[in-house]
Protein backbone atom coordinates (compact mmCIF):
# COMPACT_ATOMS: atom_id res chain seq x y z
CA UNK A 1 0.00 0.00 0.00
CA UNK A 2 2.48 2.61 1.19
CA UNK A 3 5.13 1.16 -1.08
CA UNK A 4 2.84 1.48 -4.11
CA UNK A 5 1.92 5.05 -3.21
CA UNK A 6 5.54 6.03 -2.83
CA UNK A 7 6.48 4.32 -6.09
CA UNK A 8 3.80 6.38 -7.82
CA UNK A 9 4.92 9.66 -6.26
CA UNK A 10 8.50 9.13 -7.31
CA UNK A 11 7.76 7.58 -10.69
CA UNK A 12 8.80 10.72 -12.49
CA UNK A 13 12.08 11.11 -10.71
CA UNK A 14 14.11 8.26 -12.10
CA UNK A 15 17.64 9.25 -13.01
CA UNK A 16 17.11 12.96 -12.54
CA UNK A 17 18.73 15.14 -9.89
CA UNK A 18 18.03 14.97 -6.21
CA UNK A 19 15.18 14.12 -3.95
CA UNK A 20 13.86 17.60 -3.12
CA UNK A 21 11.66 19.27 -0.49
CA UNK A 22 8.74 19.28 -2.93
CA UNK A 23 8.77 15.70 -4.02
CA UNK A 24 9.54 14.37 -0.55
CA UNK A 25 6.73 16.41 1.07
CA UNK A 26 4.07 14.38 -0.70
CA UNK A 27 5.75 11.11 0.14
CA UNK A 28 6.15 12.03 3.79
CA UNK A 29 2.52 12.99 4.09
CA UNK A 30 1.66 9.48 3.00
CA UNK A 31 4.15 7.97 5.40
CA UNK A 32 2.79 10.01 8.28
CA UNK A 33 -0.72 8.90 7.59
CA UNK A 34 0.43 5.29 7.43
CA UNK A 35 2.16 5.60 10.78
CA UNK A 36 -0.85 7.22 12.48
CA UNK A 37 -3.16 4.55 11.16
CA UNK A 38 -0.71 1.98 12.51
CA UNK A 39 -1.08 3.52 15.98
CA UNK A 40 2.31 5.18 16.12
CA UNK A 41 2.08 8.07 18.58
CA UNK A 42 1.56 11.46 16.94
CA UNK A 43 4.72 13.03 18.38
CA UNK A 44 6.81 9.95 17.64
CA UNK A 45 5.54 9.88 14.04
CA UNK A 46 6.49 13.53 13.71
CA UNK A 47 10.08 12.91 14.87
CA UNK A 48 10.33 9.88 12.62
CA UNK A 49 9.24 11.88 9.56
CA UNK A 50 11.75 14.63 10.37
CA UNK A 51 14.55 12.09 10.65
CA UNK A 52 13.60 10.47 7.35
CA UNK A 53 13.36 13.85 5.62
CA UNK A 54 16.81 14.77 6.80
CA UNK A 55 18.27 11.53 5.53
CA UNK A 56 16.45 11.64 2.23
CA UNK A 57 17.08 15.28 1.29
CA UNK A 58 20.24 15.77 -0.60
CA UNK A 59 20.59 12.13 -1.46
CA UNK A 60 21.51 11.85 -5.08
CA UNK A 61 18.96 9.76 -6.92
CA UNK A 62 20.79 6.59 -7.82
CA UNK A 63 20.40 5.24 -11.32
CA UNK A 64 20.24 1.65 -10.20
CA UNK A 65 16.98 1.80 -8.30
CA UNK A 66 13.95 4.06 -8.56
CA UNK A 67 13.78 7.11 -6.25
CA UNK A 68 10.66 5.61 -4.75
CA UNK A 69 12.57 2.50 -3.81
CA UNK A 70 15.34 4.63 -2.42
CA UNK A 71 13.00 6.56 -0.18
CA UNK A 72 11.31 3.36 0.88
CA UNK A 73 14.67 1.96 1.84
CA UNK A 74 15.47 5.05 3.90
CA UNK A 75 12.12 4.81 5.66
CA UNK A 76 12.42 1.09 6.29
CA UNK A 77 16.01 1.31 7.52
CA UNK A 78 15.24 4.21 9.82
CA UNK A 79 12.33 2.30 11.33
CA UNK A 80 14.46 -0.81 11.87
CA UNK A 81 17.18 1.32 13.43
CA UNK A 82 14.72 2.94 15.83
CA UNK A 83 13.02 -0.30 16.79
CA UNK A 84 16.30 -1.56 18.14
CA UNK A 85 18.17 -4.81 18.22
CA UNK A 86 16.95 -8.33 18.00
CA UNK A 87 17.53 -10.97 20.67
CA UNK A 88 18.51 -8.66 23.51
CA UNK A 89 19.00 -11.20 26.30
CA UNK A 90 17.56 -11.21 29.77
CA UNK A 91 20.03 -10.32 32.51
CA UNK A 92 20.04 -13.44 34.63
CA UNK A 93 23.55 -13.21 35.99
CA UNK A 94 24.56 -12.28 39.53
CA UNK A 95 23.65 -13.90 42.83
CA UNK A 96 20.74 -16.30 42.36
CA UNK A 97 17.84 -16.16 42.17
CA UNK A 98 17.72 -13.71 39.27
CA UNK A 99 14.52 -11.70 39.65
CA UNK A 100 12.13 -10.57 36.93
CA UNK A 101 9.21 -8.23 37.60
CA UNK A 102 6.35 -8.32 35.10
CA UNK A 103 4.35 -5.08 35.06
CA UNK A 104 1.82 -3.19 32.95
CA UNK A 105 -1.74 -1.98 32.45
CA UNK A 106 -4.79 -4.15 33.13
CA UNK A 107 -5.39 -7.04 30.77
CA UNK A 108 -2.19 -6.56 28.75
CA UNK A 109 -1.20 -10.22 29.06
CA UNK A 110 1.25 -10.23 32.00
CA UNK A 111 0.10 -13.43 33.72
CA UNK A 112 0.05 -15.36 30.46
CA UNK A 113 3.49 -14.00 29.55
CA UNK A 114 4.97 -14.78 32.97
CA UNK A 115 3.96 -18.43 32.61
CA UNK A 116 5.31 -18.62 29.05
CA UNK A 117 8.60 -17.08 30.09
CA UNK A 118 8.87 -19.52 32.99
CA UNK A 119 8.33 -22.45 30.65
CA UNK A 120 10.91 -21.17 28.20
CA UNK A 121 13.48 -20.60 30.95
CA UNK A 122 12.88 -24.08 32.32
CA UNK A 123 13.39 -25.57 28.87
CA UNK A 124 16.71 -23.73 28.67
CA UNK A 125 17.91 -25.32 31.89
CA UNK A 126 16.90 -22.73 34.47
CA UNK A 127 14.88 -23.50 37.59
CA UNK A 128 12.20 -20.79 37.65
CA UNK A 129 9.47 -20.11 40.16
CA UNK A 130 6.46 -17.88 39.57
CA UNK A 131 5.26 -15.52 42.30
CA UNK A 132 1.55 -14.72 42.55
CA UNK A 133 1.83 -11.04 43.43
CA UNK A 134 -1.63 -10.06 42.15
CA UNK A 135 -3.88 -10.26 45.18
CA UNK A 136 -6.59 -8.04 43.72
CA UNK A 137 -8.01 -9.56 40.56
CA UNK A 138 -10.58 -12.27 41.35
CA UNK A 139 -9.01 -15.71 40.85
CA UNK A 140 -5.69 -14.23 39.66
CA UNK A 141 -3.77 -16.60 41.92
CA UNK A 142 -5.76 -19.59 40.66
CA UNK A 143 -5.08 -18.50 37.09
CA UNK A 144 -1.32 -18.40 37.71
CA UNK A 145 -1.39 -21.72 39.56
CA UNK A 146 -3.14 -23.42 36.65
CA UNK A 147 -0.72 -21.91 34.14
CA UNK A 148 2.20 -22.88 36.39
CA UNK A 149 0.96 -26.47 36.40
CA UNK A 150 0.71 -26.48 32.61
CA UNK A 151 4.31 -25.27 32.41
CA UNK A 152 5.45 -27.56 35.26
CA UNK A 153 6.78 -24.54 37.12
CA UNK A 154 6.19 -24.01 40.86
CA UNK A 155 4.06 -21.05 41.93
CA UNK A 156 4.66 -19.23 45.19
CA UNK A 157 1.44 -17.97 46.71
CA UNK A 158 0.50 -16.73 50.12
CA UNK A 159 -2.65 -15.51 51.79
CA UNK A 160 -1.48 -12.00 52.66
CA UNK A 161 -2.73 -8.47 52.11
CA UNK A 162 0.79 -7.10 51.90
CA UNK A 163 2.20 -7.64 48.43
CA UNK A 164 5.71 -6.57 49.42
CA UNK A 165 5.67 -9.23 52.14
CA UNK A 166 4.59 -11.88 49.67
CA UNK A 167 7.45 -10.96 47.33
CA UNK A 168 9.94 -10.86 50.19
CA UNK A 169 8.82 -14.29 51.45
CA UNK A 170 8.95 -15.71 47.94
CA UNK A 171 12.57 -14.56 47.68
CA UNK A 172 13.39 -16.14 51.03
CA UNK A 173 11.87 -19.42 49.92
CA UNK A 174 13.69 -19.30 46.60
CA UNK A 175 17.02 -18.74 48.38
CA UNK A 176 16.33 -21.81 50.53
CA UNK A 177 15.80 -23.94 47.47
CA UNK A 178 17.43 -24.49 44.11
CA UNK A 179 15.23 -21.94 42.34
CA UNK A 180 17.48 -19.66 40.32
CA UNK A 181 14.95 -17.42 38.54
CA UNK A 182 12.04 -15.71 40.25
CA UNK A 183 9.26 -14.21 38.12
CA UNK A 184 6.87 -11.80 39.85
CA UNK A 185 3.45 -11.60 38.21
CA UNK A 186 2.02 -8.29 39.42
CA UNK A 187 -1.51 -6.90 39.20
CA UNK A 188 -2.48 -4.78 36.23
CA UNK A 189 -2.61 -1.13 37.25
CA UNK A 190 -3.04 2.35 35.84
CA UNK A 191 0.07 4.53 35.67
CA UNK A 192 -2.04 7.29 37.23
CA UNK A 193 -2.91 5.19 40.29
CA UNK A 194 -0.27 6.51 42.69
CA UNK A 195 -0.88 3.97 45.43
CA UNK A 196 -0.55 1.03 43.04
CA UNK A 197 2.52 2.53 41.33
CA UNK A 198 4.06 3.04 44.76
CA UNK A 199 3.47 -0.66 45.48
CA UNK A 200 5.66 -1.49 42.50
CA UNK A 201 8.29 1.05 43.51
CA UNK A 202 8.47 -0.45 46.99
CA UNK A 203 9.03 -3.96 45.61
CA UNK A 204 11.60 -2.64 43.17
CA UNK A 205 13.49 -0.65 45.83
CA UNK A 206 13.74 -3.55 48.23
CA UNK A 207 14.25 -6.53 45.97
CA UNK A 208 16.25 -4.80 43.19
CA UNK A 209 15.20 -7.19 40.39
CA UNK A 210 17.61 -7.52 37.46
CA UNK A 211 14.74 -7.28 34.99
CA UNK A 212 11.58 -5.18 34.96
CA UNK A 213 9.53 -6.10 31.91
CA UNK A 214 6.79 -3.71 30.78
CA UNK A 215 4.09 -5.78 29.09
CA UNK A 216 1.94 -3.85 26.62
CA UNK A 217 -1.03 -4.93 24.56
CA UNK A 218 0.12 -4.88 20.92
CA UNK A 219 -3.14 -3.18 19.92
CA UNK A 220 -2.67 -0.22 22.26
CA UNK A 221 -3.09 3.20 20.70
CA UNK A 222 -1.88 6.70 21.46
CA UNK A 223 -1.99 6.12 25.22
CA UNK A 224 1.00 3.76 24.95
CA UNK A 225 3.47 6.59 25.47
CA UNK A 226 1.74 7.82 28.62
CA UNK A 227 1.80 4.45 30.31
CA UNK A 228 5.29 3.52 29.10
CA UNK A 229 6.81 6.82 30.21
CA UNK A 230 5.23 6.58 33.65
CA UNK A 231 6.23 2.98 34.30
CA UNK A 232 9.72 3.65 33.04
CA UNK A 233 10.14 6.78 35.17
CA UNK A 234 9.10 4.85 38.27
CA UNK A 235 10.89 1.57 37.72
CA UNK A 236 13.59 2.06 35.10
CA UNK A 237 12.13 -0.71 32.98
CA UNK A 238 14.73 -3.07 31.46
CA UNK A 239 12.67 -4.52 28.64
CA UNK A 240 9.41 -4.30 26.73
CA UNK A 241 7.05 -7.12 25.78
CA UNK A 242 4.32 -6.71 23.17
CA UNK A 243 1.44 -9.15 23.34
CA UNK A 244 -1.45 -10.31 21.18
CA UNK A 245 0.61 -9.78 18.04
CA UNK A 246 -1.22 -12.76 16.56
CA UNK A 247 -4.00 -10.23 16.03
CA UNK A 248 -4.06 -7.89 13.05
CA UNK A 249 -3.14 -4.68 14.84
CA UNK A 250 -0.24 -2.99 13.06
CA UNK A 251 1.68 -2.56 16.30
CA UNK A 252 2.85 1.03 15.96
CA UNK A 253 2.94 1.07 19.74
CA UNK A 254 6.26 -0.78 19.45
CA UNK A 255 7.85 2.28 17.87
CA UNK A 256 6.16 4.66 20.29
CA UNK A 257 7.14 2.78 23.44
CA UNK A 258 10.66 2.16 22.22
CA UNK A 259 11.08 5.83 21.29
CA UNK A 260 9.91 7.29 24.57
CA UNK A 261 11.65 4.81 26.87
CA UNK A 262 14.74 3.92 24.86
CA UNK A 263 14.41 0.42 26.28
CA UNK A 264 14.79 -2.78 24.21
CA UNK A 265 11.84 -4.82 23.03
CA UNK A 266 12.71 -8.26 24.39
CA UNK A 267 9.75 -10.49 23.54
CA UNK A 268 6.73 -10.73 21.30
CA UNK A 269 3.78 -12.81 22.45
CA UNK A 270 1.75 -14.07 19.52
CA UNK A 271 -0.81 -16.47 20.90
CA UNK A 272 -2.47 -17.79 24.03
CA UNK A 273 -0.60 -21.06 24.36
CA UNK A 274 2.71 -21.33 26.21
CA UNK A 275 4.64 -21.96 23.00
CA UNK A 276 3.69 -18.59 21.49
CA UNK A 277 6.61 -16.51 22.72
CA UNK A 278 9.16 -15.20 20.24
CA UNK A 279 12.20 -13.00 20.16
CA UNK A 280 11.72 -9.54 18.72
CA UNK A 281 12.68 -9.07 15.06
CA UNK A 282 12.86 -5.37 14.10
CA UNK A 283 12.81 -6.12 10.34
CA UNK A 284 9.53 -8.02 10.57
CA UNK A 285 8.04 -5.39 12.80
CA UNK A 286 9.04 -2.56 10.50
CA UNK A 287 7.25 -4.34 7.64
CA UNK A 288 4.18 -4.79 9.76
CA UNK A 289 3.99 -1.16 10.89
CA UNK A 290 4.65 0.22 7.40
CA UNK A 291 1.99 -2.09 6.03
Amino acid sequence: QLRDNLQTIFKNLRGQGKITEQNIALALRDVRRTLLEADVNYGVARSFIDAVKEKALGEKVLLSITPGQQVIKIIHDEMVRLLGDTQVPLKLDGLPPAMIMVVGLQGSGKTTFAAKLAKQLKASGKRPMLVAADIYRPAAIEQLQILGEHSSVPVYREQNRDVLRICRNALAQARNSDVNVLIFDTAGRLHVDDAMMEELSAIHRELKPREVLFVADGMIGQDAVNAAKAFNARLDVTGIVLTKMDGDARGGAALSIRSVTGKPIKYISAGESTEDLEAFHPERFANRILG
Binding site: Y42, G43, Y136, A139, Q143, H150, D217, M219, G221, A249
Partner: protein
Protein backbone atom coordinates in the same frame (compact mmCIF):
# COMPACT_ATOMS: atom_id res chain seq x y z
CA UNK B 1 -5.45 26.02 23.23
CA UNK B 2 -5.42 29.59 24.53
CA UNK B 3 -8.04 32.30 24.60
CA UNK B 4 -9.35 33.74 21.37
CA UNK B 5 -6.69 32.37 19.10
CA UNK B 6 -6.81 33.06 15.44
CA UNK B 7 -7.04 29.78 13.59
CA UNK B 8 -3.69 29.51 11.87
CA UNK B 9 -1.72 26.48 10.81
CA UNK B 10 0.13 26.41 14.14
CA UNK B 11 -3.06 26.13 16.14
CA UNK B 12 -4.60 23.69 13.69
CA UNK B 13 -1.54 21.51 14.06
CA UNK B 14 -1.92 21.52 17.85
CA UNK B 15 -5.61 20.68 17.54
CA UNK B 16 -4.79 17.92 15.08
CA UNK B 17 -2.25 16.44 17.51
CA UNK B 18 -4.83 16.62 20.30
CA UNK B 19 -7.43 14.79 18.20
CA UNK B 20 -5.09 12.09 16.98
CA UNK B 21 -3.75 11.52 20.48
CA UNK B 22 -7.29 10.77 21.63
CA UNK B 23 -7.40 7.83 19.18
CA UNK B 24 -10.11 9.49 17.09
CA UNK B 25 -8.38 8.26 13.92
CA UNK B 26 -8.01 9.85 10.50
CA UNK B 27 -11.65 10.03 9.34
CA UNK B 28 -13.02 11.66 12.49
CA UNK B 29 -10.01 13.96 12.95
CA UNK B 30 -10.35 15.28 9.41
CA UNK B 31 -14.09 15.75 9.86
CA UNK B 32 -13.53 17.84 12.99
CA UNK B 33 -10.73 19.89 11.42
CA UNK B 34 -13.00 20.64 8.43
CA UNK B 35 -15.73 21.83 10.78
CA UNK B 36 -13.26 23.98 12.69
CA UNK B 37 -12.03 25.61 9.51
CA UNK B 38 -15.61 26.31 8.42
CA UNK B 39 -16.35 27.78 11.85
CA UNK B 40 -13.24 29.94 11.76
CA UNK B 41 -14.46 31.53 8.55
CA UNK B 42 -17.63 32.67 10.30
CA UNK B 43 -15.91 33.82 13.43
CA UNK B 44 -12.26 34.88 13.16
CA UNK B 45 -11.20 34.04 16.67
CA UNK B 46 -11.82 30.63 18.18
CA UNK B 47 -11.00 29.62 21.70
CA UNK B 48 -11.08 26.32 23.53
CA UNK B 49 -14.69 26.81 24.54
CA UNK B 50 -15.71 27.21 20.88
CA UNK B 51 -13.92 24.04 19.87
CA UNK B 52 -15.47 22.16 22.75
CA UNK B 53 -18.89 23.49 21.77
CA UNK B 54 -18.34 22.45 18.17
CA UNK B 55 -17.40 18.92 19.16
CA UNK B 56 -20.35 18.62 21.52
CA UNK B 57 -22.61 19.66 18.68
CA UNK B 58 -21.01 17.26 16.18
CA UNK B 59 -21.03 14.26 18.48
CA UNK B 60 -24.38 15.13 19.97
CA UNK B 61 -25.77 15.05 16.43
CA UNK B 62 -24.03 11.75 15.70
CA UNK B 63 -25.24 10.01 18.87
CA UNK B 64 -28.62 11.64 19.20
CA UNK B 65 -31.02 8.81 18.58
CA UNK B 66 -28.98 6.16 20.31
CA UNK B 67 -30.85 3.63 22.37
CA UNK B 68 -28.83 3.19 25.53
CA UNK B 69 -31.08 0.84 27.39
CA UNK B 70 -31.22 -2.91 27.19
CA UNK B 71 -34.60 -4.34 26.06
CA UNK B 72 -35.87 -5.65 29.39
CA UNK B 73 -39.59 -5.09 28.91
CA UNK B 74 -40.60 -8.44 27.56
CA UNK B 75 -42.26 -11.51 29.07
CA UNK B 76 -39.19 -13.65 28.54
CA UNK B 77 -35.58 -13.28 29.65
CA UNK B 78 -33.60 -10.63 27.80
CA UNK B 79 -30.49 -12.43 26.57
CA UNK B 80 -27.31 -10.38 26.39
CA UNK B 81 -24.25 -11.87 24.72
CA UNK B 82 -20.96 -10.25 25.76
CA UNK B 83 -18.08 -10.53 23.31
CA UNK B 84 -14.69 -9.00 22.61
CA UNK B 85 -10.98 -9.60 22.28
CA UNK B 86 -8.75 -10.94 25.03
CA UNK B 87 -8.40 -8.83 28.14
CA UNK B 88 -10.89 -6.12 27.10
CA UNK B 89 -12.82 -6.35 30.37
CA UNK B 90 -15.78 -8.60 29.53
CA UNK B 91 -15.86 -10.68 32.72
CA UNK B 92 -15.46 -7.67 35.01
CA UNK B 93 -18.07 -5.71 33.04
CA UNK B 94 -20.60 -8.53 33.37
CA UNK B 95 -20.15 -8.33 37.13
CA UNK B 96 -20.87 -4.60 36.94
CA UNK B 97 -23.90 -5.06 34.64
CA UNK B 98 -25.30 -7.75 36.90
CA UNK B 99 -25.00 -5.47 39.90
CA UNK B 100 -26.47 -2.51 38.01
CA UNK B 101 -29.62 -4.35 36.87
CA UNK B 102 -30.02 -6.37 40.04
CA UNK B 103 -29.99 -3.11 42.02
CA UNK B 104 -32.90 -1.86 39.93
CA UNK B 105 -34.91 -4.93 40.90
CA UNK B 106 -34.26 -7.20 37.93
CA UNK B 107 -33.62 -10.93 38.35
CA UNK B 108 -30.24 -11.50 36.70
CA UNK B 109 -28.63 -14.80 35.69
CA UNK B 110 -25.02 -15.10 34.53
CA UNK B 111 -23.81 -17.87 32.21
CA UNK B 112 -20.12 -18.77 32.42
CA UNK B 113 -19.47 -19.65 28.79
CA UNK B 114 -15.72 -19.06 28.80
CA UNK B 115 -14.78 -22.71 29.10
CA UNK B 116 -11.29 -22.06 27.86
CA UNK B 117 -9.21 -19.64 29.91
CA UNK B 118 -7.53 -20.67 33.15
CA UNK B 119 -9.71 -19.77 36.14
CA UNK B 120 -12.17 -17.78 33.96
CA UNK B 121 -15.16 -19.46 35.61
CA UNK B 122 -13.77 -18.91 39.10
CA UNK B 123 -13.23 -15.24 38.28
CA UNK B 124 -16.80 -14.81 37.03
CA UNK B 125 -18.16 -16.78 39.99
CA UNK B 126 -16.62 -14.27 42.38
CA UNK B 127 -18.24 -11.41 40.47
CA UNK B 128 -21.62 -13.17 40.56
CA UNK B 129 -21.31 -13.52 44.32
CA UNK B 130 -20.35 -9.85 44.70
CA UNK B 131 -23.31 -8.79 42.58
CA UNK B 132 -25.58 -11.16 44.46
CA UNK B 133 -26.83 -12.98 41.35
CA UNK B 134 -27.02 -16.60 40.27
CA UNK B 135 -24.55 -18.16 37.93
CA UNK B 136 -24.78 -21.17 35.63
CA UNK B 137 -21.38 -22.80 35.29
CA UNK B 138 -19.81 -26.16 34.60
CA UNK B 139 -16.14 -26.59 35.43
CA UNK B 140 -16.00 -29.76 33.34
CA UNK B 141 -17.48 -28.17 30.22
CA UNK B 142 -15.13 -28.20 27.26
CA UNK B 143 -17.14 -26.11 24.86
CA UNK B 144 -19.41 -23.13 25.35
CA UNK B 145 -22.48 -24.18 23.35
CA UNK B 146 -23.67 -26.73 25.85
CA UNK B 147 -23.49 -24.43 28.85
CA UNK B 148 -25.18 -21.63 26.88
CA UNK B 149 -28.05 -23.95 25.96
CA UNK B 150 -28.50 -25.20 29.53
CA UNK B 151 -28.05 -21.73 30.94
CA UNK B 152 -30.81 -20.16 28.87
CA UNK B 153 -33.18 -23.01 29.66
CA UNK B 154 -32.43 -22.42 33.33
CA UNK B 155 -33.02 -18.70 32.89
CA UNK B 156 -36.43 -19.34 31.38
CA UNK B 157 -37.49 -21.80 34.09
CA UNK B 158 -36.28 -19.44 36.81
CA UNK B 159 -38.03 -16.45 35.27
CA UNK B 160 -34.87 -14.42 34.91
CA UNK B 161 -35.38 -10.90 33.54
CA UNK B 162 -31.85 -10.68 32.23
CA UNK B 163 -29.32 -13.33 31.16
CA UNK B 164 -25.71 -12.21 30.74
CA UNK B 165 -23.42 -14.54 28.80
CA UNK B 166 -19.66 -14.27 29.32
CA UNK B 167 -17.60 -15.60 26.43
CA UNK B 168 -13.89 -16.25 26.04
CA UNK B 169 -11.77 -13.43 24.68
CA UNK B 170 -11.03 -13.99 21.01
CA UNK B 171 -9.10 -12.20 18.32
CA UNK B 172 -11.34 -11.42 15.35
CA UNK B 173 -8.79 -12.71 12.85
CA UNK B 174 -9.00 -16.24 14.26
CA UNK B 175 -11.50 -17.95 11.98
CA UNK B 176 -12.14 -20.96 14.22
CA UNK B 177 -12.86 -18.71 17.22
CA UNK B 178 -15.24 -16.55 15.22
CA UNK B 179 -16.94 -19.73 14.02
CA UNK B 180 -17.33 -20.78 17.63
CA UNK B 181 -19.00 -17.44 18.32
CA UNK B 182 -21.34 -17.92 15.39
CA UNK B 183 -22.26 -21.32 16.80
CA UNK B 184 -22.98 -19.80 20.24
CA UNK B 185 -25.29 -17.28 18.62
CA UNK B 186 -27.14 -20.01 16.75
CA UNK B 187 -27.52 -22.10 19.90
CA UNK B 188 -29.01 -19.08 21.69
CA UNK B 189 -31.51 -18.59 18.86
CA UNK B 190 -32.47 -22.26 19.11
CA UNK B 191 -33.74 -21.73 22.65
CA UNK B 192 -35.23 -18.23 22.19
CA UNK B 193 -35.79 -17.43 18.49
CA UNK B 194 -35.14 -13.70 18.55
CA UNK B 195 -32.24 -13.93 20.99
CA UNK B 196 -29.65 -12.69 21.69
CA UNK B 197 -31.63 -9.48 22.16
CA UNK B 198 -28.45 -7.56 22.73
CA UNK B 199 -24.85 -8.29 21.70
CA UNK B 200 -22.40 -6.08 23.51
CA UNK B 201 -18.87 -5.70 22.20
CA UNK B 202 -16.49 -4.82 25.02
CA UNK B 203 -13.60 -2.63 23.89
CA UNK B 204 -10.52 -1.71 25.89
CA UNK B 205 -10.48 2.09 25.86
CA UNK B 206 -6.71 2.24 25.42
CA UNK B 207 -6.71 0.30 22.16
CA UNK B 208 -6.06 2.27 18.99
CA UNK B 209 -7.29 1.90 15.44
CA UNK B 210 -7.72 -1.84 15.80
CA UNK B 211 -10.94 -1.15 17.73
CA UNK B 212 -12.64 -0.19 14.47
CA UNK B 213 -11.44 -3.41 12.85
CA UNK B 214 -12.72 -5.37 15.86
CA UNK B 215 -16.13 -3.75 15.58
CA UNK B 216 -16.30 -4.48 11.85
CA UNK B 217 -15.21 -8.08 12.16
CA UNK B 218 -17.32 -8.99 15.19
CA UNK B 219 -20.34 -7.42 13.48
CA UNK B 220 -19.95 -9.86 10.61
CA UNK B 221 -20.49 -12.79 12.97
CA UNK B 222 -22.92 -11.44 15.55
CA UNK B 223 -24.93 -8.25 14.95
CA UNK B 224 -23.29 -6.00 17.54
CA UNK B 225 -25.98 -3.82 19.07
CA UNK B 226 -23.89 -1.87 21.53
CA UNK B 227 -20.39 -1.09 22.74
CA UNK B 228 -19.00 -0.95 26.23
CA UNK B 229 -15.71 0.93 26.38
CA UNK B 230 -13.62 0.05 29.43
CA UNK B 231 -10.57 1.42 31.25
CA UNK B 232 -11.46 5.06 30.67
CA UNK B 233 -10.38 5.79 34.23
CA UNK B 234 -6.81 5.94 32.92
CA UNK B 235 -5.45 8.53 30.47
CA UNK B 236 -6.84 6.91 27.32
CA UNK B 237 -9.70 8.84 25.70
CA UNK B 238 -11.27 5.98 23.75
CA UNK B 239 -11.66 8.09 20.61
CA UNK B 240 -12.14 5.06 18.39
CA UNK B 241 -15.68 4.75 19.74
CA UNK B 242 -16.53 7.84 17.69
CA UNK B 243 -15.07 6.31 14.53
CA UNK B 244 -17.08 3.14 15.16
CA UNK B 245 -20.29 5.10 15.72
CA UNK B 246 -19.66 7.10 12.54
CA UNK B 247 -18.91 4.15 10.30
CA UNK B 248 -20.97 1.32 11.76
CA UNK B 249 -23.68 3.21 13.66
CA UNK B 250 -23.17 1.11 16.78
CA UNK B 251 -24.04 3.07 19.95
CA UNK B 252 -21.85 3.16 23.05
CA UNK B 253 -24.08 2.00 25.89
CA UNK B 254 -21.77 2.05 28.89
CA UNK B 255 -18.26 3.00 29.85
CA UNK B 256 -16.07 1.25 32.42
CA UNK B 257 -14.31 3.50 34.89
CA UNK B 258 -12.55 1.14 37.22
CA UNK B 259 -12.22 -2.34 38.63
CA UNK B 260 -14.98 -2.25 41.23
CA UNK B 261 -18.59 -3.35 40.97
CA UNK B 262 -19.98 0.17 40.73
CA UNK B 263 -17.51 1.43 38.10
CA UNK B 264 -19.92 1.45 35.17
CA UNK B 265 -21.72 4.49 33.76
CA UNK B 266 -24.30 4.88 30.98
CA UNK B 267 -22.65 6.70 28.11
CA UNK B 268 -23.29 10.22 26.87
CA UNK B 269 -21.43 12.27 24.24
CA UNK B 270 -20.98 15.08 26.77
CA UNK B 271 -19.11 12.66 29.00
CA UNK B 272 -16.75 11.87 26.12
CA UNK B 273 -16.08 15.52 25.24
CA UNK B 274 -15.56 16.53 28.85
CA UNK B 275 -13.12 13.68 29.38
CA UNK B 276 -11.35 14.70 26.17
CA UNK B 277 -10.74 18.22 27.45
CA UNK B 278 -10.48 17.03 31.06
Amino acid sequence: FGLGMKIDSGLLERIEAFLYESDLGTAVTELILDEIEKESRKKLLLNEADIRELMLRLFGEMFKDDELSIPLEQNQPCVVLVVGVNGAGKTTTIGKLASHYSASGKKVLIIAADTYRAAAIEQLDIWAQRAGVEIIKNLEAKNPSGIVYDGIQAGISRNADLILIDTAGRLHNKAHLMQELDKIRRVIAKVIPDAPHETLLVLDGSIGQNSLVQAREFSKVTPVSGLIVTKLDGTAKGGSMIAIRKELHIPVKFIGLGEKLGDLLPFSPAMFVNALFG
